[in-house]
Each structure stands twice: as structure tokens, then as C-alpha cells.
């Protein structure tokens, strides 16, 4: 990635080349080198050792299974929340709306560790609801419900953030038309809204899933870090590293890195669909503005 693009030399000035080299070198050093070294280190003892580190360690196997359980639950909660929040914010005006929107951003700026601690203060043994939960024999902290809550908190705004601008750009016209033709609320949602927002929704889900699989700080605090019980994949990476089993740690890390790459490929694909759809929307707007006599006055 650090090679100079020689073909561009004719098209750009020396300064342009210098800037390109600087940007490529920075991204290469900061992002590409670490990413490449995960895979090189993970396979340094051959694919056999890599596979054994993943499949023959029961604690690692459990961590993979736990991550594959916790992340989808958190993403599901986020998707329901995201769709509801986007519908509320993009389709209605009500007092407190802008305050609500800024509350969506809070999980992004609060340290995951602080979020985890807040959950411990509520659900932990000495927490606010601790005695109640103990009498019901429900375990939240140091158990999977805590992992789900922490992961959901950290990824909360991701789906909503993707949907709100797209729904605002599309506008409510089609939905209003469907309602005036007698469609029920759910019919409007499934037949009109969902087809319109499907790529944006998928974009949010893919991003939320990546964050959910990789969450460390918040999960670290609530999990208690029990191998074979409450260790997710990122926590397993850390534990193996602390136990000086760096090759095994790298093997787990390589699975997470592969997942990240897969996420990016999906993201690029989805973004192309989104771009195509927003261009279609603009084209449709332009033609309807041309034919609509009421907007003809300020048209050109």
C-alpha cells in the first residue's frame, strides 16, 4: 500500500503526489500494517496451529459461541429501537424532540467502562436492584444478561443514526398516500417504509453487529471475566494475551479481524445500493417537479 501511484504523476502536481504519498503512508502505517500483522502472526505457526488454538480450547470455543449469542440479541434490540426511534423522530414533530435526538448520542460519548459500572451499580450484588434479583435467583452481572445490556448500550444509536437521515430524505408522502388509501399502520410499515429503508437498515445492522462482536470495555466490567462462562471473543483475546499465549490470542483476534473485513466489504456494497437509491430518488423528484404545475414557478 505504500507504493507511489506512478500513473497519477501526469494528472497531478508534485504537491498532489506528495499529499497522496503522505495519506497512503499514514493509512498504511496506522491501519493496514496492524491489520496485516494480525493475519501474519495468527498463521505464523501454520494453519494447523491456528485451527487447534481455536477449536481445541474449550474456553475459546465457549467464547466464540457466547459472542455469537450475545451480539445478535443486542443487535435485535437495537434494530427494534432504531426503527421505532427513526419513525418517531423522522415522521413526527413533538416537544422534546431535539432533546431526545441528543440523548441518542450519549452512549457514543460515554466511556464504555462508565456504562458498565453504571450497570453494576444497578444489577450487581450490592446494586440498587441486587437484593430483588437475588431473591428471584436472577443473575445479570457476571452472566449473559449483563453482557447483552452492556453491548446494547454501547451500540444503541447505530441503527437509529443510519435510518433517521434516510427517512427524512425520503419524506412521508408515500406513507401518507398509503394511509389515505386505507392501509393500516403495519401495512404501511411492511409494504412502504421497509422497502424504502432496507439498505439503510442493513447498513446500521452490519455496523451495530461489528461493534457488538468487538465490544470490550463495557463487557469487561460486567462479565467478571470468567473463562468458559462469561468471556466473549474480545475478552478471550485479552485473557490469552495476559497468560502469555500470544499465538492463541492472535488466532482469536484473526477471526475478529476477518469479521471486520467482511463487515467492510458488506458496507461498501450496501453504500453503493444506498447511493443508487438516493440518485433514483433525486431523479424522481426532478421529473415530478418538472411535470407538477404548482412548482413550475420557482423551478428554473
Amino acid at each position: 500500500m505504500t507504493s507511489k501511484p506512478r500513473d497519477a504523476a501526469t494528472a497531478t502536481s508534485p504537491l498532489g503526489l506528495l499529499l497522496i504519498t503522505g495519506a497512503v503512508a499514514t493509512v498504511g502505517l496506522l491501519i493496514v500494517a496492524p491489520l496485516a500483522s494480525v493475519f501474519v502472526d495468527a498463521f505464523s505457526n501454520g494453519p494447523q496451529a491456528w485451527w487447534e488454538a481455536l477449536a481445541h480450547d474449550p474456553d475459546t470455543r465457549h467464547a466464540i459461541w457466547l459472542s455469537l449469542t450475545v451480539a445478535p440479541i443486542a443487535v435485535l434490540i437495537n434494530t427494534i429501537f432504531g426503527v421505532a426511534a427513526a419513525w418517531l423522530v423522522a415522521r413526527f414533530r413533538f416537544p422534546g424532540r431535539s432533546l431526545l435526538v441528543s440523548l441518542f448520542d450519549v452512549p457514543f460519548s460515554v466511556s464504555p467502562v462508565v456504562a458498565g459500572l453504571a450497570l453494576v451499580l444497578i444489577f450487581g450484588r450490592q446494586g440498587l436492584l441486587g437484593p430483588t434479583l437475588a431473591s428471584l435467583a436472577v443473575k445479570v452481572i457476571f452472566a449473559w444478561p449483563g453482557l447483552v445490556l452492556a453491548t446494547t448500550f454501547v451500540t444503541l444509536p447505530l441503527v437509529a443514526r443510519e435510518l433517521i437521515p434516510v427517512m427524512e430524505a425520503i419524506g412521508p408522502e408515500e406513507e401518507l398516500a398509503a394511509v389515505s388509501l386505507g392501509a393500516s399502520g403495519w401495512q404501511v410499515f411492511w409494504r412502504v417504509t421497509l422497502p424504502n429503508i432496507r439498505w439503510a437498515l442493513l447498513h446500521g445492522i452490519v455496523l451495530a453487529n461489528a461493534r457488538a462482536m468487538g465490544e470490550f470495555g463495557a463487557v469487561y466490567v460486567v462479565s467478571g471475566h470468567i473463562a468458559g462462562a462469561t468471556d466473549t471473543m474480545p475478552l478471550r483475546v485479552e485473557k490469552l494475551f495476559q497468560e502469555y499465549r500470544t499465538p492463541a490470542s492472535m488466532a482469536v483476534a484473526s477471526v475478529l479481524a476477518a469479521l471486520a473485513l467482511l463487515t467492510l466489504v458488506a458496507k461498501v456494497f450496501i453504500e453503493r445500493q444506498l447511493e443508487a437509491e438516493s440518485q433514483e430518488l433525486e431523479a424522481a423528484r426532478a421529473t415530478s417537479a418538472d411535470t407538477d404545475p404548482t412548482t413550475g414557478g420557482d423551478g428554473s
Binding site: M1, P5, A8, A11, L15, G16, I20, G22, T26, V27, L30, I31, A33, P34, L35, F81, A84, W87, A90, R91, R93, F94, L100, V106, S109, V110, S111, P112, V113, V114, L117, L119, L121, L128, F153, G171, E173, V179, G185, L207, A210, R211, G214, F216, G217, Y220, V221, M233, P234, V237, E238, F241, T246, S249, M250, A253, L256, L261, L264, K267
Partner: protein
């Protein structure tokens, strides 16, 4: 939240047809408001309120004693210092990369554009692990840097490096659309009127993108202040030297020193929320400038 007052549907575009339909109200206000407020209240407002109330129950003197110990003060300083350094680097790198992506055409531009998002998808623990192995004495980069006296692992430099890694995509993605929206004609006019390249940049381009760069800085700072997963691998976590505030919270928690952990967490929460406020104000100003 305020279900008492009647909701109104967003007025769409200003066509006559939609003006007639304006009175029609879409269904689903009740259920979407219920789900949204239930999740926000139970997952965001309630936990953070409990945290603040717990800290408040210590009383002013107790809070200070817990949150303002020498070790905690050192951790705030390390957190703030390394986050500020990372935010400066991130916003400069963000400006450079965004500029190159928008204004220059070269082979591999789309790949570079996609690679910029890697830190958003890569778990921070993986980033921390890899960075620490890259910069130790025998690592890919460490074998060259350590003899030169540059220690990228188990040092403040290491903290700054991973914080730049986790915050740089935010910086790039904030600056990029603003450069895209810049009017190239103004720059060409300035050049035609005899301004040098640097004059054009500092007098014409920079005023246009400065608000975006400042926003990138604030966003990077907010992201860096709370980061835990990557830093815990690379910093060595030495009290008074390379221990950041989130790491101190976790180590207090592991000692069951809940009061102290809570007090430090509230200080960190205060820093994060004030950064969020700054970012919000900046972004509103950005949106107003764009209009």
C-alpha cells in the same frame, strides 16, 4: 416522551398536493414513542442517574476524597494529555486524508476510502493487541524504532497511537463532506487574481473547512477520552505514568472500591458529556454554515 400533546406529521415538501395532505397524521406515534422512551429511559437515563446519585451520596467531601486522590489526578492528566495529543493528530491526519480522497484522483483511491473505516469495524481489543506486538522490541516496527529510542509499546506514545487509530475515521468522515461541498470556483478565482497556492489555502480554503476540522478535533477527543479496550493492551497501565482514567476505574472496581470507582467515573462522565455538548454546538454551527 410528551404523549399528552398531539403530534404533528412532518410537513413534507411545499407542493400544493402535500399541503392538502398535511392534516393527515401517520399512525404509530404511540408505539414508537413508547419503545423509544422505554429503551432510552431504562438503558441510558436510569443507569447514568444511578451512577451520579451514588457519587452524590458520598457528599462533597467524600466525593473529593474519592475522585481527587493523587493517583486519580495523575490518571486524569494522562487521559486528557494523551487524548488531546491524539485529537490533534487525528484532526490533522483527517484533514490530509479527506483532502486527498476528495480532491485527488489516483489508482487505489476507492480502496483507501474503504480502508479508512477499518478502525470502526475492528474490535479495539484486537487493535490494542496488534499495536503492542508491532511496537515491542522484536515487533515489525519496534525492531527499527526501539534502537532509535522510540518506544511505541508500554508508553505514553503507545496510548496516543491507539487513540489516533480509534478516532481517526471520525475525523476523516467529518471533514470529507465539507471538502466535497467547497466551491472550487472561489479557489480558482483567488488563483486567477494572483494569490499563491498557500495564500489560497490559508485565506480561502481554510476558513471554509475550519469548523469541520474543529468538530473533527472535538469528536476525536470525545472518542479518545472514553477508550479502554485498546489502551489496556499497550499502555502497561503503570499508576502515575501510563494509567488512564478508565483503567483506574476498572482496577478500583476489581478491588471492590465502588465509591472511588463511581466518583472517578462521574468525573469522566462529566468530561464526556461536556465534549458531547461542544460537538453538538459545533455541528449545529456547521449545518448553519452549509445552508
Amino acid at each position: 416522551m410528551h404523549t399528552a400533546s398531539p403530534p404533528t406529521t412532518v410537513p413534507p415538501s411545499r407542493t400544493a398536493a402535500s399541503r392538502a395532505r398535511r392534516r393527515a397524521v401517520l399512525p404509530g406515534f404511540g408505539i414508537s414513542a413508547a419503545i423509544t422512551s422505554l429503551v432510552i429511559t431504562s438503558l441510558v437515563i436510569f443507569p447514568l442517574t444511578v451512577l451520579v446519585l451514588r457519587a452524590a451520596s458520598l457528599g462533597p467531601a467524600g466525593f473529593l476524597a474519592a475522585a481527587w486522590t493523587p493517583r486519580a489526578r495523575a490518571a486524569y492528566a494522562v487521559s486528557l494529555g494523551s487524548s488531546l495529543a491524539a485529537a490533534v493528530i487525528s484532526s490533522l491526519v483527517g484533514l490530509l486524508v479527506a483532502w486527498v480522497l476528495v480532491r485527488l484522483e489516483f489508482p487505489g483511491r476507492r480502496i483507501l476510502d474503504a480502508l479508512v473505516d477499518v478502525p470502526l469495524a475492528l474490535p479495539t481489543a484486537v487493535a490494542g493487541l496488534v499495536y503492542s506486538t508491532l511496537y515491542v522490541e522484536k515487533g515489525w516496527l519496534g525492531q527499527w524504532l526501539v534502537p532509535m529510542g522510540i518506544r511505541g509499546a508500554y508508553s505514553l506514545l503507545g496510548i496516543v497511537l491507539v487513540l489516533v487509530f480509534v478516532s481517526v475515521p471520525f475525523a476523516i468522515r467529518v471533514v470529507q463532506p465539507v471538502i466535497e461541498s467547497l466551491d472550487k470556483d472561489t479557489e480558482e478565482a483567488a488563483r486567477l487574481l494572483g494569490a499563491s497556492r498557500s495564500q489560497t489555502f490559508f485565506r480561502v480554503v481554510l476558513p471554509g473547512i475550519l469548523p469541520a476540522v474543529v468538530t473533527a478535533f472535538a469528536l476525536s477527543l470525545a472518542r479518545a477520552l472514553g477508550e479502554y479496550g485498546s489502551v489496556v493492551f499497550i499502555s502497561g497501565n503503570m499508576p502515575f505514568k501510563t494509567e488512564i482514567a478508565p483503567v483506574l476505574i476498572v482496577s478500583r472496581l476489581e478491588e471492590f472500591a465502588y465509591a472511588e470507582a463511581t466518583a472517578i467515573a462521574v468525573v469522566l462522565l462529566g468530561m464526556s458529556l461536556s465534549m458531547l455538548l461542544v460537538v453538538n454546538v459545533l455541528q449545529q454551527r456547521l449545518a448553519r454554515n452549509a445552508q
